[in-house]
Every structure is written in C-alpha cells, then in structure tokens.
Symmetry: D3
Subunit: 233 residues, 6 copies
C-alpha cells in the first residue's frame, strides 16, 4: 500500500482458547508489530519496554475482529489461526493495510487446510479432520466473502484515501473503514483530530472509502488467483 | 446512567508531558478502571495481572481524546488535568458514561482553576498564574462547549440507545458516538458484532444517537448549574 | 468510619487454592486497593506501575488473616470467598475500616450461601451442597464470632482512637488492633513513629482499643440485623 | 541465631531519596532476600518471578523502620545507608535475626563514616564532610542506642523465644518484638495463628521477649567491641 | 546467507549512554529479534512474554561487541549508533549473519555521517560537527577494517560452515567465529553439543572458519562498493 | 578461587521440563546470582529491577551446558537437578568458579541419589527408584567424568589464569575455557576486549588453560574424597 509494507503470515494450531474448548468451532486472532526502524525515527521495541502499548492492543483487536467477521468458525473445526502482521516499513495506514493483507494470507491458509482435510485417506486421517468430514464441514469453505480496509481523512478541506504519513499528520479528520465484499460495514472508526466534523463530511468520507475498498477487493482477488485460490463471489 | 455508576475526579498538576514542555499549553488525560465487583461476576484487578489490558487502553485513549476536543489548551497554561473514571457498578455503556460524566468534572475543575487564577492578588500569585494573566489567558474559559457520548446498538432489528449489559450482549451492531453541543462529531465507532451492517442502519443509528446526546447535554448543564458553574452556549 | 469510606464486596467461587484442594475446607482471601483520588493528592494506580506495592500486600494479608480467624473453613466446603476492599475516600485508618466492614460483607455472604445450601431440593442440588448436607455442615454457621479493628495512636501525649489523616501524620506511636467479639486479640501491630514507647503506653493503648472495638461490634450487629442476618453471641 | 544465618552488609551513597533532597539529613533503608536453598525445600528466586513478594516487602520495611528509629539522621548528612540482609540459611526468625545483625553492621558503618569525616584534612575534604564539620555534626555519633529483635510464640501452651522452623509451624501465637537498649519498644507485632490470644498471654510474651532481647544487646556489644567500636550506653 | 534473511538498519542519535557522557567518544549497540514466523513453527513474541529471553540478550551483546571492535569511537563523536538486526526468515546462523550484515549497514551509516560532517558550511553547522572538525576527527574514518562472522560445526565427522537449521540440529560441535579483515579474532565461541571435542577438531574448525570469512569480506566489499562506499584496506 | 567465593547447592525434584516428559531421562539446570554486596560497589538486585539481565542469563546457560556434558541423563531417571550458584564475594572469574564448584555439588548429589535408590528395600521403594532398578540404571553412576573451568587473559602481553577483578579490567583478551577430565573441551569462549588477537595467542591461552584446569581436577577430587565420594577415572 504505497510505501507501507506489512508482512502477513498465518500459523495454524489444533487447539482453541479456553472459552471455545469443546464447542467444535475455531478462532482467528491477530498480532501486530512494527520493526523499530519501520518509522522515520526509530521506535523502541515493545519487548524492551516489557509491555505492549495501547495503540498496538487497539490495532490487533481491530484486525482480529475484521477477519473473524468473514470466517465461518465451524468450518475451521477446533483450530486457532494466528495472523502475524509485521510492519517492515510504515508510511501511514498500517492498520488498514494489515487488514487487507491479512485477509489474503487467511484465505490462502483456509484453502490449504481444506485441501489437506479433503485429501486425507480415511485410514490415517487426523481426529479433527475425521470429525469435520463426518459433519460435512471439510467440504465447506471457511471464508464467506472478502474483507478489506482503507484509511480516509480530510486534509485541507479535501477527502483523501490511504493517507501517507505526511498527509495523515495534517489531517483534521481521521477515519478507518472496514467493509465486506457485499458492500456492508464491519467497522467504522472516525475521529476528529482538530475541529469536530459534521454529518455531511462523514457521508462524503464513507462514499469515498466504499469506492476505494472496491478497488482493493480486485487486488486481493488477483493475488489469490495468482496463488491458485478462489473466494466465493 | 441506568445501573452504570462511574466516579469521575479531576487532579491538577503544574507540569505537562515532555512533548509539550515549554510550549505554554496544557494537557488533559484520562484513566479508566473498574472495581473488580463492578461486574456481575468478579473481574480480576489489572494491578494483580501486572499490566493494563487492551480494552482499558482503548477506553482511556477515547475519553482523553473526547475531552481534549472541547478544551482550549492555551487557557490552561502548562498544567496537566488527569481525569480518573472509576466504574463502581457496570451495566453496559461504561465508556460513554465515563465521557459524559468526565466532562462535568472537567468543567468544574477548569472553572475552579480560572477563579483561583483571577482571584490571586498580584504580590504573591504563582508564576504560572502571573504568566496567564499577562497573556490575557486567565480571563479565557478553557471549556469551549459541551461534549457527551452515548452507546447505541441494533437488538432484534430495533435501534436502542444506552444499552444495558443484557441488551449489549445480544446486539448485532455496537456503536459509540461522541458529539459536541453544536451537533458535530468527535468520534464515531461502529462495530458489527454479528453480520455486517449496511449504510441505512448506520444512518438510523447516528440519528438516534444525536437525539439521545442532546438529552445528555441538558443533564450536564443542570449538574453544572447546581454546582454554580455555567458553560458557554 | 469518619471520612474514610471503603466499599466491601464478597465473591464466591466453587474452587480453592492448590494447597487446599481435596481437603474439603474453604478459604477466605482479601484484596485491597485505593482509588487514585481517594487521597488528598492523587496516588498513581498500581496497575499503571505494573506491580502491587509493599503497603498493599501488607494490608491485604492482614485483612485476610483477620477474617479467616473467625471463619469455620469446613462449614464453607471447597469454596473461596474473595473480599474486595476498595477505598473510595481515605482519611486515616483504611486498613482497620476495611477489616470492620469486610466482616459485615463476609457474614452476609456466608448466611446467603448457607440459606442456598439448605434450600436446595435434593434432586437437583449441586455436588458441593450435597456433600455439605451429608456431612451435616450445611446446617453449621461458617462465622464463629465477630471481628473488628481500630487504629490507635499517641498524639501530643494523649491516646486517640480511629485517627484521621491529620492526626495520624503527627502521631508518635501508631497501633492497629484486631479483636474478636469475645475480647481476645487476632493481631496487635504497634510501631514507634518517633521515639520508642514504653510498656505503660502500650497497656494504655490496648485498653482504649478494646473499648473502641466493643462499640464497633454493636455497629456491625446493627448492620447485619438490618440486612436480616444474626451472628451467634 | 541458632541455625539461621544472615549476611548483613551496609553500602553508603552520597545521595538521598527525592523526598529528603536538600534537607541536610540522611536515610537508612534495608533490603532482604533469601538464597533459594536457604530453606529446606528450594524456594524460587524473586528475580525469576519478576516481582518481589508481599512477605519480602513487609520484612524489609520492618528492618528499615527499626534501624531508623535509633539513628540520628542529621549526623549522617545527605547520605543513604542501604543495609542488605541476605539469608544464607533459614531456620525460623529470619526477620528478627536480620534486625539484630543489621544493627551491628550499621553501627560499624556509621563509626567508619565518622572516623573518615573527622580525619580528613581541611584542604581536600569532600563537600559533604566540610558541611558536617561546620555544623558540628561530624563529631556527633549517628547511632543513639542499640536495637535488637526476637521472635516469640506460644507452642503447646508454653512461651518460647527465637522459634526454630519446626516450632514456628506448630505455634498458636506468633510475635516479633523490636526493642531499644533502654527497654522501650520500636515494634510489637503479634498474630494469632490458631485461636485468638488473651491479654495475659500477650503480657507473658512481652516479658519473655524483653528478657531475651537484653541478652542480644550483650552479644551485639561484644561483636562491636571485637571490631573496635563502642556504642553509647 | 542461504535461507536466513536478516534486515539490518542503523539509527543515529546525538547522545551517548551515561557512562560515556562528556568523554567525547561514541557508542555502537545492537538489538536482535526474530519475527514470530521466521521459524518453521511460530515462536511467540518477546513483547507478549513481557521480557527478552536469555538467547536474545546473548546474541545482541555479541553483535554489539563485534561491531565496536572495528569502530573508532572518537571519530564518531558523542553519538550512539543502534543497529537493529531483525530476522525475517531463519534457517540457522542468524547471529553470524546478523554480524556480517550489520557491518555493512554500520559502514554505510558511518560514511554518511562523515560526509554530512564534512559538508556542513561553517556558519550553521551543528555543535557536535564543529567540535569534531576542530579536533580533526570529522576527516577520520570511523570504521578501521571489516568484521564478519560464520558459524561452523561438526556433522557426522565433517566440518561444515554456515550450517542450515537441519544440519545445526544434528551437529556435535557448534562454533561461532568472528574475525577482522586482517585475519585476527574478535570472538571464538565453541560448544560441545554432544561429546566433548579435542584440540585437533578445534584447529580444523578455526581453519575452515577463517577461509569462509575471507569469502564474506569479498561479499561485504562488493555490497559497499555498489552503495558507493569504500572501507580502508 | 582466590577472593571469589561461590555457594553451590543442588536441589532434586522428581519431575522434568515439558520437552523431556515421558522420555525416562533427567535434566540438570543452573541458576546464578550475586549478592548485591559481592562486588566492590553495590550492584542492585535483579529482583528489584524485575528482570534477569543478559549477563546472568548467559552465565547460567553456560553453567548448565557444562554440567550436562558430563552427566548421564538416563541414569538420573525423570529427575531435575537444579544447581544454585550464589556469589557471596566476587573478585573475577565468578562464572568459571561456579562451574568448578557446581561440579563438586552435583557429584555429591548424584552419589546421594544413587545410594538412596540402591538402599531402598523392594516393598516400599518409590516408583521412580523401582523403574531405575529394573532398567539397571540405579547401579550406573550419573557422573561420567569431571568438568572444570578457568578464566584466562592477556594482560600487558602475558597470559594469566584465573584473573582477579583488577587484572580482568586491564585484560586485552578474555577467555573462559571449560574442559573435561580427559582433556577435551566443553566450551571455549574468547573475546577481544581491546585489539583483535591472533591464532598464536589463542594457542598460547588454550595451553595455559589446559594446565590450570588439570590442577582444578585435583582439588575437586580431594573435596569429593573428603566427603567420601569418588568419581570414575
């Protein structure tokens, strides 16, 4: 996304958090971090500080919620998928870039899991795969539809999408919008950085964000197509 | 706010965070916590866990941003106002109740500071008060206008405001809206808990939230009037 | 207790710490904290510091020991009762006020547990309740007698009870005395803040504390009576 | 003290905690720890747990208070004396052994400081030494009198002093008494481990502790005499 | 280095650690971390654990020592250069790859600093640059010679260099060797993973490592040449 | 070792770390710490800092590896032996002194375990002892041969062994060598503190270290002989 580069990787474990144990459904969670020199001046590591900051917590909760909203947890079986979003280079919009990229990684991982579950010959298939097959879940795609996100803001009176750092620091209004491929909202977060904003500005921003996200869905589909994976339309 | 009860208290210190030192302006920050038995089943203390959770970070950042948006930092001088919002009893909407209550506490504190700055006789007034008087800032009100917040949600197809815990846990869509008294937005946060929501639902929710917040401004003004303080209209 | 106000709440869980597992007896523990603005100048939160201070540890151990000394652990069954003592306003003597108040909360909780255990009809009673009934423990009261505490000190040569903050900071000798309703001691803690104190002073203080605590027992009994609970004499 | 062995060492720094800065007086503080294998079964290190436990906090606060009660802070000048009490072998009574031993180490350190301050030739003496000499404080002894401590308990109906671990774990009542050489109290801490104790028991324990501590003063004086240091009688 | 990929970045600050303040010399330090999915199975983040592990500490101390050994601290002036080594993909030898790569990043940074110091026109040059120019240090190169490192091991009786993860886990002996371009040693670390090793094996390994490191110096020089920077021969 | 004094103690537990569970073999691990006043100026406790420093981690990993290299893990059965090395007084070479001393403590503990396993009468022997006897492991000695360590350095052009603190701080090259009694290496760590060192210096140091360590084996054997324990030659 411009000069913002995020490495997204999915890890799969055959266990779920305590509150889901025994319910037969899976979980998707996310972690987010920045390399210290992703930013223009060096940001100290959170491992050195000994605690994860509020901004990081907020972002990884948002990524997790966004991904879960388009995932069929029953089709995963009792598995946890952890999506690591590590920012190598930051130039604004790292949280929305993380969501958009994480979806591609998640879709690839889900298809790989499904292919493996289906391919196992009955005699030596895993316990989890057997249970999913029996329930008819191994055939089901875990991804229901696409999800993508974009940042938007008002800079000098104009609505801009995917703000670079220099634009973002001058913005009066700062929005993050997460949408599904059917044009509905998963998350809308808008903050007045300077003066409060009115309803007309909000409407204008949501229109622009919707158009921008439609472009991102095309990019995601192309990336998945190149990797040999299709998401349902 | 219904069965949700939050104790809001302001503390004033004659110093500012490092990034503001020497700039002549003040700062407003907030801390948020719940008593362990504010909730129906006991929630472990964050001091015992040894770290503040992501949800707490997210909430206190929201309260701080909301209060700063209506405060004239130059009129405060180099002072930090810390607003503690401690939830004694929680029945949904603790973050929006915190914002609405914190504003009343902040307005009371700002008026008390202004009265003290103005009342000092020149010979023995403090250094900060002297500088503010000279700059004509001691006369200025630090609070520009009111700010209040309400939670909103869609439960069983209907839009509800100020959801109680039982309603909140069944909601499909969960919004927090922070507005200023002139009818503009400070913050809009909307999350799909179940299915994604469409633009019409978003519009409906914002209409309802705007009406609800107008009622809260009347309650805030009444509380301030009883304490002998007026906010500018 | 004067201007000191402590909110005491009991939480019940059907499990015990590791060292008691399988022994058929319960446990009573306490946590203590102050709201940041309970004190005249703001005290930073222990959750922000990331660790619980020595003073807090010392106080919550004292509260726990005091409550356990009058509780029949076998009558509780394998349950843990956690008593949260949260200081809303502090004007001296917060640890002794916590003990005196926590006893009332504990006695109410124990009676509520006993009533529930006795009321269950045999077919669907819980496993723990069944075991207690069988052992004849459900009929037994868990509270053996009352416990209360008072602070005492020597200020300007006079022995005072329940010192306010302004008195406490001028005291030469600082005592905390915890007694049972039958006039015996659970805990005696006396510290010379300035000059050491002699045996006569110690005797004088213990006499005064004993008289003061007798008054507190009357207040506790009245509070329990109003809530419809009696403690054995 | 029997099989309990504590290594006590004093470190001197030419600075004081913030709350004393510029007041011209010194500070005495203590730290307490146990080697992991001081106890019969290994105790995990607090450095591994990442936090100092409540018991450790309680003990090092007690040691510090006891030592400060017999020290003339003005005679120290703006210096901090840190007394490390490290338990090499634990067989009951480690906190009282720490106080009794720490006093000897403190008295040795104070005399060494005084000798150094007096011996400096005027031309190149340190700033702090010069100020103390001018104020006539360098001549003054920082130690006013001795302080020592003993544990006491009631085991099987008898009052015992300096309980070994095996005795301590069977005790019904557990006391720690800290006294000055003139026969007065610095600290009295008594806890009912089993049944509450009455006033007669308390009196009996204090009598026995007073006698025991008198013996410890003789041991301390002998240790100081062997090291060539006298404390005022 | 094979499938091991490390991102090395240098950050420059105009301040030094406390122990060097006012001595006119600089400092070079390093931080090392792995992305959670650099490894074949996911490694939890150290920021989540809240502490940096022993292995990380050991590695970043080694990188820092290696880089400092070839740097002229006086030529840096009072600046700290922090080298971040972040492992994107790990397949054995991440610490030696970090040293070899970090040297290139350090040499580039030092030349950039020197060029900037020399280019400043006298009127508005910084205080530090002016002091360095006056002392003739701005002309001096901070890098004295190259430094590179290689891992070596004995696998199935043969000495191998730059072991991949699969080889490393079968190695009987595990060495890390850091050398300067003039063929001398900065660090030799050899560990018997299985049976102890004899002097002949050690000699064999050091010969092989020396030859391998000579190849790495050629690669480093080529990388620096492409970036337009030369290191003295 | 000169003025360096380290207290070494072994603790035995009938459990192993997770990665060894069910494999029938034991584990040897080490912890290392210094008393705050072991050093000439006081070193703050790691428990107060709340984290174990990099140097400590590095040292305790080295001690553990050295001890494991001469221990037959199968002969221990599923037991963990933790060796605590606590430095009471530090004058250089604390890590090598810890290894040399820890071996003596470990050999004593292993012989004590073996004697206990062999002495048990069959009817009431423990489960672990029974399994070991059956497998013929109780007869086997867990210690295969001796291990000892020495520090070495180049000071003013001469190679020195077991450097005192004053020598160590002037050394150009700093080595730690761990060897087994059959003259082979467990660990070789050499660091250039000032200028890099050449191969001839390395050879010279290893020769000297080998000779020094042979002397240490004699001292260890004498210590074990006095305690009535023999190690195989």
């Amino acid at each position: 996304m411009g000069n913002t580069r995020v490495l997204c990787a999915v890890s799969v474990e055959d266990r779920v958090p305590n509150f889901l144990r025994g319910k037969g459904t899976g979980w998707v969670t996310a972690e987010y971090a920045m390399l210290p020199r992703a930013t223009h001046t060096r940001t100290p590591r959170e491992s050195v500080a000994g605690r994860i900051g509020g901004r990081t917590h907020e972002i990884q909760r948002l990524i997790g919620r966004s991904l879960r909203s388009v995932t069929d947890m029953a089709a995963l079986g009792e598995r946890t998928l952890t999506v690591d979003c590590d920012v190598l280079q930051a130039d604004g919009g790292t949280r929305t870039a993380s969501i958009t990229g994480a979806f591609v990684a998640l879709a690839l991982a889900c298809e790989k899991i499904r292919a493996t579950d289906l391919a196992r010959t009955v005699p030596n298939e895993g316990l989890l795969a057997a249970k999913l097959r029996e329930a008819g879940l191994a055939q089901r795609r875990a991804i229901r539809q696409g999800v993508a996100a974009v940042s938007a803001g008002v800079v000098g009176g104009s609505v801009l999408l995917d703000l670079a750092y220099a634009e973002d620091s001058r913005a009066d209004v700062d929005f993050n919008v997460v949408m599904t491929e059917d044009g509905r909202f998963i998350e809308v977060q808008g903050t007045a950085e300077g003066a409060p904003f009115d309803r007309a500005t909000l409407d204008h921003i949501l229109d622009a964000a919707g158009a921008g996200i439609r472009d991102l869905f095309a990019v995601q589909r192309e990336a998945l197509r190149l990797a040999g994976v299709a998401v349902p339309t």
